[in-house]
Symmetry: none
Subunit: 212 residues, 4 copies
DNA sequence: CATGAATGAGATTTCATTCAT
DNA sequence: AATGAATGAAATCTCATTCAT
């Protein structure tokens, strides 16, 4: 399912063209990672790709097009990464833990790219929605299956999926992007406990009394 | 505690000045609500405020300044709204429910303004951080108090606060902003159940079996 | 002979007015000394004078007016300074030496103001011409008298006066304004020798042969 | 020795680019000759060069850049002109006379451009210093050689060079630029006599006695 | 006299996009 | 395919000057 392929961008036929297009995409990734969509200029992209300004328009009809392609690309990459991380796990909670961990690691690794997605909200809303819908649907499907098996409680799957994505997003932003990510695991622990047992977690109710 | 007052914006001495400045702020709120920061032009703001273009620069050094003031303002308003909503509630969970509900209502009511905050990430990062830190700190403080009283489990307060804000933010975006907000309460129900008991909520484990 | 009084600037009647006007002039002197005429703003002048913006226009019809007044003022001050320096001297050459020395000292002391005069060429040409004509005429008159007495050779007085002013101006700029004025006297010596005996100065022809 | 080339101005690759850049420089020369740097607008320059407004910024980063290039250009042209004028002359005094004459003629011919240099003091001081230093150094070198040969007296070469440039500048301004240049030679005569023999010139001392 | 808010013309500068080569 | 020169619309920002109080 190749969701986001914007059909307006031209696919080159020759190998040379392939290479140039790829160079542009990589340059764009680096540029958009460092600056705002508005701050980024085609000139800067072509400069880093070491091609002439006009060459850009051979492959992309406008600035937005390459940006959107990047967003869709990232969405696909993240989805694949999460799927791979979750695959080995057998229990639902193992999957959750693996998923959150993989997400935080992905965010830490692609720090800049993550801002690109968020910016899509203001550059190309459809791409932005597509990003969350794509991930949300896949997530919801997995959660539904778990509900059917009785591994987790029954919730409205989409609400549940978005709530969990919300946690991942915000925690990732606050404790991975804003801060130097010293150790990810303790954060995963806290989040997982909340996700599993909620605020009223019995395990957390008793322990503090003893600790203090 | 007037956190975000950009000291570069000038406060007028006379009443006439006060009125003009206020008119500019209101016009800006309406403009930024409808367009991207980049799309919005000072000219449009002054047009709506019914003052000359140059007048803008009597009170604000540049577009960013008024934008930031708006963000800080919103932060303060939201904080106040949440505080008021929560005040009447006696139990922790009552407070949570009231807080989420109030947030979703606020988002629905100020639909456009909410985009303004999110954009701050790309227009003025400090203002953006300030927004979440301010709310997060207040939230974390309330949660800490609840932990001390044994009303909820022991978590790292800041992580907990950001996780819950993450849920509110994402659910608000997905089910309040992207969609026509038919009924908020059912969504609040789902969210609250998750927040209280987690994925393994016993109440939700049994019921589905009966339902099916 | 009150050459430069621009009649368009208003002379205040009350003492308070006198003080304000004076404060504006002094502020303007300091501002124009630090910046270009274009860079200088009325706002900056009134800020330094500690009066409101509008007050400026009570005393001066526009920016140029205060600038021109400053130029004419400087011209008068310099003329007076030179006259005083020359007064005690009895021989023509003593006068020349005293005049050059006084000029360099004046330039060093009013370093910034000197730029104000030069700028007049581009801000208000009449004021600029007035400056050089006033000084040039006075100088030419003195030189004519010396010629009549046979103290110096017969030259076209105005050409002579401007040539000598040219030396003073350029040497002052290069060796007093561009550089830290370590010692003025050696420069005066060189200049005076040239002015008295020209390039073919006998005193300077012989000595080098011995030196080398 | 291409002293003043501001490296920020872009040199075009193609012939078409060369032509456009040149057209801009010529238009700028004509505009700056007629108006103050501040009065001159990029729009006026591009209008005269018959290119679009934006084209200016393809070759120059801002107004100052083209202005400075003009100043450096003029400096080079003047230097070349003076060198050529002086070349044929064998005696030092012949050279001086030829140099002064050539300078006055240059000033008369490029009347407007001369104002451009003077303005540099307020637009880009380094360019202004460069102008005088370049000419001054070349002049000083020639004078030093003459001193070594015993053709003229021993002076501090740089002081001497600037003093003579000062005469040229001021006389040029007063009697060539301010006035319609009826005849240049009589002025050159007066100046040369002063330069050669100084105020105490014997040739000029005797004649007046007979006149009176 | 003094104030300071309001004006609006005007200029620079940016850059996505087009196009001729 | 690739190039890079040319375009021109659009927006920000400045500030001298006016004017009502």
């Amino acid at each position: 399912m190749n969701v986001g392929t914007t059909s307006t961008s031209k696919q080159p036929t020759t190998k040379r063209g392939q290479r140039t297009r790829q160079a542009l995409l990589e340059a764009a990734e680096s540029v958009f990672g460092e600056m705002t969509f508005e701050q980024a200029s085609i000139a800067e992209i072509t400069r880093r790709a070491k091609v002439a300004l006009g060459t850009f328009y051979v492959y992309f009809p406008h600035k937005q097009a390459i940006f959107v392609e990047l967003v869709d690309d990232l969405s696909a990459r993240l989805k694949k990464t999460l799927a791979a991380a979750v695959k080995g796990e057998t229990t639902r909670l193992g999957r959750e833990r693996a998923g959150f961990r993989a997400f935080f690691e992905f965010a830490a690794k692609h720090r800049n790219l993550y801002r690109v997605v968020r910016q899509a909200e203001f550059v190309d809303e459809p791409a932005y929605h597509r990003y969350y819908r794509t991930l949300g649907n896949a997530y919801a499907k997995g959660l539904s299956a778990a509900m059917a098996k009785g591994e987790i409680g029954r919730f409205e799957p989409e609400i549940l999926a978005f709530a969990l994505m919300g946690i991942a997003d915000m925690i990732g932003m606050r404790f991975v992007l804003w801060e130097s990510p010293t150790a990810i695991e303790p954060i995963v622990d806290e989040v997982l406990e909340l996700v599993q047992h909620g605020l009223l977690s019995k395990a957390r109710m008793t322990s503090p009394k003893e600790t203090k």
